[in-house]
Point group: D2
Chain length 314, copies 4
């Protein structure tokens, strides 16, 4: 705690907490200043709360999804590498992403004509619209946006050869939750089919520190479907962790772009000055995994299939 | 928790915890498997415990200092940038660094003739020697090592124009602890004086996420003394945070080295294959701060002096 | 956890907690199933939540006030000893008691013509009316009830020689809260004046285990004003503690009633079969303090005055 | 926290905690000042720690067993009712009770010629002898004491018609621990057989608040074996709970003694002034269960047998 933040300690008003289970032996305790909303939708438990230093924060089923102070590191890292790797991304599909922050980042690319967001849970979207305008920043109202309340897997099965970029922004594949089947080989095959012949996709891939097995399994599963597969990583301060992403591509390799090409694309698409985190150097950093992580990913994990899926225990 | 780690949950034997206060509104709870040592030295409270996933871990005054699983990110990032920036570092001074892991990394540079480690608390060193061989890896026995039990500030005041590199590896400047006065302008002046005319130094600089004011203050204070001052950062998984470092230099700029020069120096000094994290690309990454952090550091903090020091409240 | 309650563990849906500070070294963590209401009134923070085993529970400023499963031990012990000790209690004044459960118990005595409840915070009463009908059980609608939104101390200062029984049911005297001045000699003098010449009063008196100094101070302060003063105690399971009460009386001594007299009064007033906890034997138990508590109360505490009040630090 | 205890808050040295699971939705967090011993014996995990307000405290497998400040309520309540109910208890058997505090209370009765303590785990006894002299107070050295390291059930099976009083002081019957089979009908039959024809026995019976099913089951199981069976209860502050006990007797009924008889026996046996909690009035209080608890015990629980034992899930 720095000097100027100390007064927060004196109010003595912080007994409400969320205790997030990272592993059975490591938990994070957030002391909540205010509860904006705490409810159960048809599919999940949703809490939107205010935490000092983190700001307004969305939890789904007890897992921190986004904090106003710092979510941009996650959302810029999820969206821009895959978007910039495509020379002209026009039609974009987002699976999940209820807060609207992934949509927000996608729409910053002026090449985009259509951004379809498919989410199962309309209540989460409504709650985020109401309580978290800092996250969506009006992106649901953009004429290029199309919201579709549907099961992501079912939606995909009805679309072939249609999208330039698909972005999968879902909760972790926790045992006995439906998310488990949105990280399997069969799911990635549907993603592959829905992409155009030069399409790319990306998925969030859980914590690289606490669940390296899961990251490695997602990588191995994506690599089984796509000719080009890349793991990348970024520290996400509001997740208190180093986060993994897996990118699958039919044609373009995001790691082959020069810094100059990256800057040119960013400039042409009107991104410069609109981002807080991502730039051409960070693009490179994201894909440069340190040796011990490279070895971890090689050594761990396995193919995840509908019949034998990989999942987290909590 | 990944699939294979789950059995840890079934033993039900984890009620002993350390609750680390990151800010008044954010705490980390570690569930301890085994307590190897829990004691009070003349200066501080020391706990060496085993935590699943983290491995053996040292806490000083309730703050996590090093975990066997992952400490190398911190120690390699602390030591190698400043060492590699010097063309021929022979005499090295470490202030603090009781675990011996900083010493271990320093000794990997084959240019080093003498590595003096100055620490106030002999008991911490003895406990680390006994319980944490994974950290020091015998570095205290290296003939180039010299251990000196003394107050760091007093030691510095007796040495002028002597060291090529000085590494400051101390606990955070928490209110009412002696560390506060090892982060002030007067202290950095002593460091400056003890360095040779082309010397460099580095100090750990607290969490860039949770105490940005402190990082910015240390930067501003070092920049007031040294002609060249740089902030750099790395994600330290065992600290669950993005960590800050501040480097001060009389002559050499660590950011001006090309990747080729970095590789050449690493090869000449026998570092290649001995490191788990640091390499020439990571060197560049460390110094590339994202935009929102650059702005934070510009905007926050102030000069810290003996008379008006900057400190954390807890 | 007993066998049949275990399924609660399997839902994995309990990350929302309230961490109640009992002492700086002892905290209680409640895992919340559902948040019914979490808000700030003009005067205090109010949370009404559902906790497995405890049932719906009211917290004020982070302190548990009443749980549906078990509140009756507290409320019956607060109300009936002082009511039964009066031969014919007709006009009753309750200071505090926002949940309406104290009022509920008072109204069970068929001697009562008028029960005035004075509480500062109308919002707490409205929230309890709405969310906690199990507590008030309609007592606010009883024609004998009179609700008065006012400062208790100011109210008292306007009433002399009026009430048979006064019941003080307030939050603990925590430093820098207004409750501090509702436990001083000056306050008890106002209570004394508002009572008829044979009146009695009782106040809750904090935890006998965790704050014996406070219990002893309240006793010494009441004994300074009233000719008859008695400490009594009961374990309150929803407070996880042994609770203290202090009774002051102008004439009647509650400890001098025989079991037979107690039963007669209970029968005449229609109490038999309407109570879950209190009976003639428990009446005796309440006032029988074990030796180590008697000694604690003798040895600790001091007079609390407006000028030099006694309070808890948190 | 009362005024004079507040300085404890300022040392800021309390990050080591034990988080005791009472139910899956209710946990107690103790902040530890000092760890005296933390180890694993052949049978169980043992922690002896110092907690402000509680004093030195023994935990076995993460469950608080005894705190120096307050253990006497538990130990006096366990021992004296059953001892006083016997007109002349000479040979006593204690099963469990490693701390030596149960033995200490038994030896206060000057009728006792022999007190045999049977405990499975010699290490716990050694650790308690070394670190917790406040508990045993030298009772292991009393010439009437006999310590026997053995399995309690096996020991019992070899003794018939031998003891006046048997006291069972064990950890709770937690699933998958050996204690489960020391609360079954078969076990109580062995106890019955080992008692003389006018013998009595008592067992601790878990928390009456948090595990009423277990208390009721123990009662029903004891009542199935002994002609006289009684549940009694007491608030144990260091357990933060209302505790249950079950007494089984072949002949004497502890509830039929008058206060005068109780005082006479206490005086003859030299108990007066040596006890902090138990007296003739408290004896009566222990056995007077409030209505809602009586109903709970009637309604809940079932016979526990070796084949179908009753247990707690954690």
């Amino acid at each position: 705690m720095s000097e100027e933040e100390s007064s927060a300690n004196n109010d003595g008003l912080s007994w409400r907490t969320i205790m997030e289970t990272v592993t059975p032996h490591f938990k994070l305790v957030y002391f909540i200043k205010r509860i904006l909303c705490s409810t159960r939708t048809k599919y999940q438990e949703v809490d939107i709360v205010e935490i000092p230093d983190f700001g307004k924060t969305l939890f789904i089923d007890g897992k921190l999804q986004s904090s106003v102070n710092g979510e941009w590191v996650y959302h810029e890292s999820l969206v821009h590498p895959v978007m910039i790797a495509h020379p002209n991304p026009k039609r974009i599909l987002i699976i999940g992403g209820g807060e609207g922050a992934t949509l927000r980042e996608v729409l910053k690319h002026n090449t985009v004509n259509e951004a379809v967001m498919v989410d199962l849970d309309p209540d989460v979207i409504e709650l985020c619209k109401k309580y978290l305008p800092e996250l969506h920043q009006g992106s649901f109202e953009d004429p290029r946006s199309k919201l579709c309340i549907a099961d992501g897997r079912e939606f995909l099965s009805k679309h072939r050869n249609e999208y330039d970029v698909i972005i999968v922004d879902l909760t972790d594949p926790i045992k006995d939750t439906p998310s488990v089947f949105l990280y399997t080989r069969e799911f990635y095959q549907l993603v592959f089919n829905a992409l155009k012949e030069d399409g790319l996709f990306v998925t969030q891939a859980t914590s690289i520190i606490h669940t390296p097995d899961i990251v490695a399994s997602i990588y191995k599963t994506v690599a089984d479907v796509f000719p080009i597969a890349r793991v990348y990583h970024v520290w996400v301060s509001c997740f208190s962790s180093l986060w993994g992403f897996v990118l699958g591509s039919k044609k373009y390799d995001p790691t082959s772009l020069t810094r100059k090409e990256l800057v040119t694309r960013m400039r042409e698409r009107g991104l410069i000055k609109r981002l807080k985190f991502y730039d051409e150097i960070i693009h490179e950093m994201l894909f440069h995994l340190p040796k011990f992580i490279r070895e971890d990913i090689k050594r761990r994990g396995r193919l995840s299939t509908d019949k034998n899926p990989v999942y987290l225990l909590e």
